[in-house]
Every structure is written in C-alpha cells, then in structure tokens.
Symmetry: C2
C-alpha cells in the first residue's frame, strides 16, 4: 500500500489541492469509512508470527468467528505464518485484546461503536457489542502497513460510531441471477466497509428467485432454473448475521410482477398469458388488487418468506406501477367506483394497506419504494426514497416528505450505482445534510441510505466492478461524520481501499482485466488499458436505449463492461490540465502522458484488426489520440505565445465535439478539460 499511501500523503501538498475545498483537517491514514475521531501519534506496533489475541471475559460466538476471520485476513494480507486459525481461548500476553460488554443484535439502532487504541504495549479494541468489535477489526486491517522492518500498525487512538443506522446495499438478483458465491463475497466486502443491510430484490419481471415450496411454479415457470433454496438463504442470512449485516427480502408487487404471473396468470389484471421478460424497462403486467385470491396467495407466500428471513422488515416494492392493465379492465374499474377509489394510486394504496395488514400479522414492518406512501399508510411503514432528476422529481423530496409525515425513511436516490455515475457524484449526496431545512424530529426519521445495484446490465462476472470501490465511498457517507467530504481526499483513500478490498475475494479489478485480455485477442493489453482509463460507460439510462438494445442473454464481455464508472486516468489528466491552466508548471509529466496517448491509437488499431468485438471503439480511440495531439498543440501555442489561426480553433471544436460521442457504449472523460485548455488559449488570443 505504501506507494498509494505515500501518493495519498503527497496529495495533501499537490497542486490540484489548491483548488479543492478543504472542509476538515485532512485525513492522515487511508481509512474508509473514516472514523469519527482519530489521533495519530508517532510510533508503530510491529506484527509478527507470534501474534496473539485475547478475547477478554465476555465471549460470544460472533466474536469468536469474527476474530478467526480477522486472523485469516491478517495472514493473507501480510503473508505471516500464524499457526492457528480459530481463536479459541484467551492468552495471557496478547498483541490484540478485544473486550466487549455483550453480544449484539443485528437490528437498527444497535450499538456499533468501538474504540481502537494502538500504542507500544499493543492493540486494544473495546466495544459495547461484538458487532462494534467486528467493525473495529476491519479498521484495524485497514491500518496495517509495511516498511523495511516489517508489518505494523501505527500508534492511534480511534473512537468511532456510525452516523446513520441504516447503511444498506440492494442487489437486484431478479434481472440477472447472482450465484451464492457472488453474494458471499459481497457480504464480506460490505462488512469490510461497515455496511449493515443487504436488501435482496428477489422478484421482478425477469425472475422469481426465492424457492417457494408452497408455490413451486414461481420457480419452475418464473425462472430459467436459477433461484435460491430456502436452505441456501438461511445459511446466507446466518453468515450475514455473524458479520453484523441484516438481510431483508423484497417481493416487488403489484407491478414488476411478470415472473409471478407466468406461474399464476389468474392473478393478473389482464386475461392473457405471461412470458418471462428478457428486456429492461417498466412493463404492464400487474397483480389484480380486486381479486381476493391474490391476497390469500400473498399471505401464504409472505408467510413462507418470513419463515426464512427473521429481519423485522419486509420490502414490498410497490414502484413503477403505471396501472395500464387496470385502466383496461372493466371489472377493476367497477371495483374502484364501488370503493370510491378515484385514481390508480388510490387503488394501489388500497392494495398496500391490505398487505400491511398481512405483514402486521407476521410482525413485520412494511417497507416499500416511495410510491407506497399515502395518507392511510400506518406509521410503521418505512419509505424508500428513490426518485430524482431522471424521474422528474426533486431529489430527496420524498425522503423529507416521508419524515415530515412521521415515517422512517431511507435514501437511495443518488446511490444507484448501475447508472454509472462517479463515486464523487454519490459521495456528494448526503441523506440529511445539516443545511437541510428539517426539524430534529424529522431528522430522526431519516435512518440512512442504500446503495442500489439494478442488474439489467450486469452479470456475476461484472457486478463487482460496478459496485466497488464506489460503494465504499457511499459507505463512508453513511458511516462517517458529515464533515468528511473532501472529494480529492476520498479518491486518494479510495484507491488504497480498492486494492485492499481484493483481499475479500472481490473481482472488481480482475474482471475488467479479464475482459481486456479477451478483447486483446492475444495482443498486449497495455494500449487498451491506456484508453480504458479515460472512458466511462454511458451514464443514466443512455447505454441501453428503450431497454431493448440489451437483454438478459446479451454479451456482457464487451468494452463497456470492462470500463468503470470512475475513469481514474482521466481524473488525473484532467487535474493535471487544470493545474497547468492555473500555474503552468509542476503538473506531473503531462506532456509525456499526452504524447503516449497521441501514439496510442496506432497500437489499438493493430488489436482491432484481430478483434472484431472492438470495432465499435475504433473512432473513440482515434479521437482520443487526436484530442491528445490537440492538447499538446494548445500548450505549445500557450508556451510560445504563438497564435493559432481561426481555422485551428474551428477544427479543434469540431474534433472535441466528435470526441464527445460515445464509442463502444463508453464516453471519453477528457473532453471537457481539453475544451477548457482550448478556451483558455482562445481567451489569451483574444
């Protein structure tokens, strides 16, 4: 980690910091989420193969398992040979002493705080609960560094506790099924960055992934054979519980229900046959809220699911029901008139209230996407705020509305990682900034937030690089104090943490590399890597126009699937250019980098000849090399105070426009900074 860590330290003094807003004393260690309070002092506590743990007097299963897992991680991270794996018994003289007061319960509001002190006498981890201790162990792993004398932990005194109690990750396992090992490794990664709720979106138009023994057709007809057995889910839930993570189920109704309706078309609002959906979008199949058998069915199904999921929350989805089939169904229209329900939203509200009664019976709190909120909804419901600019809504409006009406609520708008916005974009979103005009009472209703990963365009092989390391930045937003918000500092730490996260089995680095090796067709991948570092997949819903360019069978082994949401190469180059424009010297080897880029397309072209799949980036690659040449020319003009003619500017603008076009469903991220460079030159000329 040293180089990245050094790079991180150096960045405090780097030129582009001068233009960043520094909002707090800079973090001194690459921890993420950054602790609430940390004092770093001189000194290092060295680790060697004699490393021992003392677990104190209060011993719990979780503490035992988590400390053993810590040992495994420590061994793999450092390569130290510790001749044990299971921390079974207390030892007198220990390097690490962990003391807890009691076992923790995986629930909202549980005490997750911890204190971690490292000094010359060793490492002391104290926590009220074993969950808090488990959080502290992850911080400890992040603290381990190496120097010429070995591995060590710097002397620190950390006091830490979460800002928000609900720090979730939603995985859409319906559209593309995620095998269990994908879930397990992501649970480990969640624990590594102190996330504590895994929300499984178990059903949608493309699949029903919970094994129903009562209604096996939900799996037989409602999937291509991929679903989780109840036993598998119980094991998963137990493992997550050990890691201090609650798993909550979502069965999305009454819309997003095609998979259910393939098994039970009689519960639909239209007399038709239903076929499992392969595309992405908002579809019409909807449960019939006027059919009593629908409630009987859902009662039994929910009961079966609740037997498996002990969490006190049950997510009923409830989003994106346009009600077209309701409009077309005369019986439903008659029902609405008879009940005095004037709109589809009122009809859905009727449906939701019926479900709330069922869930109350099972002692579960209903949770749903923001559309479920109506006046009649009982206050025990939890409102999941998701809509924003893309949906023509004010971000967080539904969050604050829910809080103002007395509902507990969590935020996901801004945290939809499948939309491929940058870590910075999500990091800047705060569920309840101090500047928000809300009462303390309302503020207390905002439990936190959830990262969302909808899976229209991801498969098991690519999901890690879509989730990580961005989810770590959002985890920091949920856990760390509001004041921890410097973006450049976050990026510098995120690079360190991204490498560290590989220790938990994540494929977020290896998977894009594998795709590049395939695309390179036996060539050296370096030219592709150079270009890939400058592009990001098309954002929002633009990559998959109309939801029909891709379907569940499409290849997800293409250029855009190797690209990630944060083009760090572009970020560096943009910072260099910004630095150059501010001070014109000491901005890294900017021209060397641009020269290399200028030559890159020739090498990419040689690869494309042998790799038809890459034909789609030929223009993108050519334009990238061309704008690199343009940037060099602009700098040369500026440095020599020479004046390009108007034709040069006209061609430059034409080229920059061309370079902003997508290629291989990705977009070049250095166009703006080079446009700024050209504009600056134009300003000088004028």
């Amino acid at each position: 980690m040293k180089v990245l860590k050094n790079r991180y330290r150096q960045f405090l003094y780097s030129c582009f910091l001068s233009i960043a807003t520094i909002t707090l004393a800079q973090a001194e260690l690459p921890l993420m989420p950054y602790p609430r309070s940390i004092e770093v002092t001189d000194g290092k506590y060295y680790l060697d193969q004699s490393f021992q743990i003392n677990l104190g007097e209060v011993m719990t299963n979780r503490l035992n398992e988590e400390s053993s897992l810590f040992i495994k991680q420590l061994v793999e991270q450092t390569g130290l040979f510790l001749n044990y794996r299971q921390v079974n018994s207390a030892v007198d003289v220990a390097d690490l002493t962990i003391k807890v007061d009691r076992f923790g319960i995986v629930k909202m509001g549980e005490d997750e705080s911890y204190q971690l002190t490292v000094n010359e006498s060793g490492i002391a981890l104290n926590a009220t609960t074993d969950i808090g201790a488990s959080r502290g162990l992850m911080t400890l792993l992040q603290l381990i560094d190496g120097d010429e004398n070995g591995y060590y932990v710097p002397h620190v005194a950390i006091k830490d506790a979460p800002r928000f109690q609900w720090r979730g990750l939603m995985l859409d396992v319906a559209r593309h099924y995620l095998p269990l090992e994908t879930l397990y490794r992501n649970i480990d990664a969640m624990a590594a960055v102190k996330l504590n709720v895994l929300h499984l979106h178990l059903s949608d138009d493309q699949g029903f992934r919970f094994e129903s023994k009562l209604f096996p057709d939900l799996n037989i007809k409602g999937t291509d054979g991929n679903y989780y057995t109840q036993g598998e889910l119980k094991d998963l839930i137990a493992y997550a519980d050990q890691r201090g993570i609650m798993i909550i189920p979502e069965i999305d109704v009454p819309g997003h229900a095609t998979a259910i309706l393939t098994a039970f078309p009689e519960f639909g609002s239209k007399d038709t046959t239903y076929v499992l959906e392969r595309f992405a979008g908002i579809f019409d199949p909807t449960l019939d809220p006027t059919n009593e058998e629908v409630y009987a069915f859902l009662d039994k199904l929910f009961g079966e699911i609740i037997e498996v999921f002990p969490a006190p929350y049950f997510h009923i989805g409830g989003d994106e029901n346009l009600g077209k089939h309701w409009d077309q169904n005369a019986d439903i229209q008659a029902f609405m008139r008879s009940k005095g329900l004037e709109t589809n939203h009122e009809l859905q509200s009727y449906f939701n209230l019926r479900l709330q009664r069922i869930l109350n019976k099972y002692d579960r709190r209903m949770m749903g996407w923001e559309e479920i909120q109506t006046n009649e909804l009982e206050e025990s419901a939890v409102i999941h705020s998701w809509r924003g600019a893309w949906e023509g809504a004010e971000p967080r409006a539904s969050l604050y509305h829910a809080a103002s009406e007395g509902y507990e609520t969590i935020l996901s708008n801004g945290y939809y990682l499948d939309l491929i916005f940058t870590a910075e974009d999500s990091y800047r979103v705060d569920p309840a900034p101090s500047s928000a005009d809300i009462s303390d009472e309302e503020r207390s209703k905002i439990l936190g937030g959830e990262v969302c990963m909808w899976s229209e365009l991801v498969v098991p092989q690519t999901i890690d690089s879509r989730l990580w390391p961005r989810a770590a930045a959002i985890a920091e937003r949920f856990w760390s104090p509001e004041a921890i918000k410097d973006v450049d500092d976050m990026y510098a730490r995120m690079e360190v943490i991204s490498l560290w996260l590989e220790n938990f089995g994540l494929k977020h680095i290896s998977s894009p590399n594998r795709i590049l090796r395939k695309l390179a067709a036996g060539h050296d991948t370096a030219p592709l890597e150079r270009l890939l570092a400058l592009v990001e997949p098309m954002k929002g819903y633009t990559r998959n126009p109309g939801g029909t360019m891709y379907n569940t069978f499409s290849p997800y082994t293409k250029w855009a699937d190797a690209a990630t949401a944060d083009a760090l190469g572009a970020r560096r180059l943009n910072n260099q250019i910004e630095c150059y424009l501010n001070g014109k010297m000491g901005c890294g080897q900017i021209k060397d980098d641009l020269e290399e880029l200028a030559d890159n397309h020739g090498q990419v072209q040689l690869i494309i000849q042998d790799s038809p799949s890459l034909r789609e980036i030929e223009q993108l690659s050519a334009n990238t090399s061309k704008v690199a040449v343009l940037a060099i020319e602009a700098m040369n003009f500026m440095e020599t105070n020479a004046k390009p003619n108007p034709k040069w500017f006209a061609e430059a603008k034409e080229l920059l426009t061309a370079a902003s076009q997508q290629g291989g469903r990705t977009e070049l991220q250095i166009v703006t900074s080079i446009t700024n460079l050209v504009a600056a030159l134009e300003g000088e000329v004028k």
Copy 2:
C-alpha cells in the same frame, strides 16, 4: 487470439524450431487436444448475430443443454448479440447443424467421436452420441477466430475420437476444502479440453468432506465445518453428467484416516485420541482391520456414498499405509498370526478383499492406488498407478504389472500437478507408448490416466493456476494420437488455449495477478511480473520440507503462490540463448530483454521496502539482474572475440551457483542457459 495464433504460426519458422524434433506435420490451428485427423482448406465461414442452430431429428436433454451452453460461450467469446440462449427448436436454415444418433451414457468406452465439417454452406457436427457432439462443440469454440471482416471459423474437415477412454482429474478436496464453485468452473474447464473423469479425494487426515447423515460426527469432528452436502453432490454429479464427465468418490482407507478417527477413535489401530491433521505428510492413524465393526461401519458408509454417486467405480485409496500402529498393537499382531498374515501388506490385502466384497454387493468396482494390488484381488479391481522416481519406483512399473495380471489400470505418475513440474514434463509421459514392451492384451487394460492435484499447498484462490493450463496439455496426451508430441508446438498452442480457458471462469491468470497486486503494495506490478515470468515454485516435495513448513492455515498469498510451473518468460529467454548459441543472430531482442532484466532489481527493491512479505525474494531478484548482466557480458565477449580472464569465469560460476538457490520458495529458470552461454564462451576461449 490473432497475435498468439500468428505467433504460433510464425513459430513454425522460428529459429528454435531448428533444434526441436518434428515428429509430425505441424498442427495448423491452435487446438488442444489436437484432433485425430484434420484437413484445413482455404476459406472462412463468418459468424454474425443471425447465427442459428439446427439440432437434427434425435434430440436429447444433453444436446439441448450443451448447445445452449455453446451459445452462451459463443456470445461471451465473440460479443455477438444473439437474442436467445436456449436452443429449443430446429430451424430450417442453420449455420450449425448438429446430428447425433443417440444419447450417450457417461461410462468408460462410450463413443465420444465426432466429425466437424466447416465449408461455405455452414458447419456440420455429426456424432454417434450427444457426448461426442459436446466434445465437438468445444473444438468448434476453439476454432473461432477474428479478422477485419468479423468472427469466423476456418474451413476444416475434422474426424476425432479419443485415444484413451479414461481421461481423469483428481482433486484433493480433503486437505484444503474446495468450494462448489471451484468444482463447477473446473468441470467446465475439463469439458473444454475433453477430460471425462472427475475423481474426488473426499477424505484424508485433514478432513472428511462427504456429508454423512448416518455418521454426522464424520463432518462435525472430521472437518472445520466444510463439507459437501449430499444434495450439493447430486447436483454436481448431474451437471458433470451433462458435460459428459463421470464423478467418482474416493474414501481413503485404511491409512490417511485421521479425519474418520477423530469421529470414531474406536475404529483406530491405537488406543488414543485423534486430532484433525493440519500438516502434510504420511501419518500413522490407521483403521483397525481386525475389528468387525470397522467393516460394518464402512459397509453402511459406502452404501450411503454409493446412493449419491452412480458411477460404477469406488476408489478406496489404500495408499501409504506404513502400518506402524499395526506393529504396535498386540491384538492386531495376534490376529495376523492366527490368519497366517505375515506382513502388513498381507493384512491390508485382507482388509481390501473385505472391502471388495462390500463393494461387489453394491455393484461397484473397487479402485485403489497401486498398493492395493495383491494376488487375491479380484480382476474387477482397477489399479491406479502413481509411484515413480520420488518413491524409489520405476515409473509405470505398477501400471504394466497390473495390466499383465489382467487388471484394468490407469496412470497418474508424471501427472501430479501439485509437484509443479512443467507442462513439458507431464506431456512427455505416455501411459502406453508404442515403444512399450507390452502385449495387445495388456495394452487393452491400460484405460488412460489421471491428472492429480493434491492440495497440501493450494487453496481455492490458487488451485486454478496450479491446474491450468498444464492439465490441458495432459488432456491432449490422453485424447490425441501418440504422434502429437512436439513440445514447442504444444507450448505455442497452450498459450492460446490458456487465454481461451478464461472464458470458462478459470482464475489461473487473474489469481496470480491479484497476488502480485497485493505484494506490490500499491506500486506498479511490472517489475514483479518480469521476475515472476522467470521463476517456478520449488518442485517435487522440496517446497514444504518435512511437510511442516506449511500447514492448512498458512498464507497462500505469497510469491511462490503467484509463480506457476511453467515460467514462460524463462522458456523464451532460454530459447533465445540457445538460438544465439546456434546461430548468433535473429534471435529476438535478446539483449534488450537482458538489459531490462539487469535494471529490474532496482525497481523490485523499491517495492520490497514497502512490502515486507517480499523480503524473501530480495536475493533472488538481485541475482537475476546479476546473471542478466553476466549474459550480456558473455555475449559481448563472444561478439568481439575478446577473452575474459579466469577471475571473470570464477566469479561467473560463483554467481550462477548463487542464482540457483531458491528465493521465496521459487527457483530461477534461466541459470542453465546462461551457464551454457558461459561454457560456450569458455570453450571458445580454450
């Protein structure tokens, strides 16, 4: 693939071929295993997104599933958007027509042949069985290439069938448990290279991995919690069957039985308590063959296992029982005297014959390591030949002995991939070369061979790079005609196939890369990659002296775990030096490569400062750069006809001796060729 494929074609004319023995017309396409007969003609059949399959008149479940899997692979390999995944129905005009006569049964001797014809009218795959068709589909995937016009299959006429019927892979899931996903992806890789037997070594001193419902203590006490449930195994077996692969269980008795004895110490030959083994080696705990309850127990246990594994073979292990506890047990000695059993081997033979009776009852053929062969053994037994030079035995002696006594037999000596010999080493081993002095009858008893992967030093994260791509080369030995044996040709094809195997989810390339990223501690990994390409892990049993340097808890994330058995960088450099010594020109950029190497240590040192785990390779790295300098000096002397003084030679030899020492449990593979270079110089000087 193009560059590697081109490199492969060019290698036909490359200088080092001049010194290779060409035993057959060179393979023209990078297929592995190479087909029995292939005619390549001019012409390419291009593939696009309209690609369709016609499955002919005889439809089987396997054909349906395998052709769907083919579509998935085709889509991922080419990035073509085919809007279907399940090949359900015949289409009139198809690009690929697959015709089979009948479904196949996964058993020895089943027809696995196929004919694959590609011409301007399309691709025709014909086979007697759907298993043969499935083999042909893998060849078809290997044939796909790309050019400026798109993806295509070259026009070919292939007639193919296996040479040996038993083409196995043994995985030791006892010493280090392998999660199911590891097994699944390796089954896919096995199918990709036409292996057809997966032998699971389910029990050993370190663990008992079969879920026994009759004897749950085997799992509770005999593992750390990791074992396969019966349901998981049934699913795995069904999947393997679809892929034309038979899974056979091994329960190793009477030795290697510590895990069993942790649960049932009363079945041991010594009155003691047994503790699960953590180290590697041959241990004393042994079942008591004089105890009738042992047979009653094994009868029930085998019965339970046989319910899960339908294969007609049951492997009882039977290896490496030294019988120390038998010698020490007076009752056992008395038993032997009463039965007239003079040696421990005779006692074990008594034990084996009892087991054979049990297995006969269950209609299973007993299989065991070569030690089980005795005069009394029924001819239905299958002898697994494994001992060789490391065990003071003549390689294949037990194979031929078994055949001569009328037993069917398979070979694993030479195919122990955990011993980290090169692909070449294994590739040169033929179970039944035409030169062998054996009768046709004996030859017919040699069913084939098995790759073995013992897991003392591998974990799920590293096993793929220990197995692949070497197992592909051995698969070729088992499948292809004896005459396909040119080593350089094999390596050239293996590089192409290695990349292709990543399409099946193997981590054999990504896993070493991940370890290097960890070891590089934030630095660029290039200097480490350069060195890693020149080293191989210590071979045979030398890496883990006495079986005690490592245990099941050790870190397998170190330098040696990133290194692989074939240092391809060293192989290239050695070929260049050999070429240089033969002709002295046109041997690649040999001096540039050596200069780069000479500078490498300085960069490695910068990394080591921050990565204590790499301290162990500091000397290795330094010596590598020094011998590179030495090689350059030697060449310069030769080219200028200058004569170094004796001191130079003395220092050179000292350095070469030092450079042959292990570092980080790996060995530098360029010492011999540079020694040859120095010797050649010395020869010139004399």
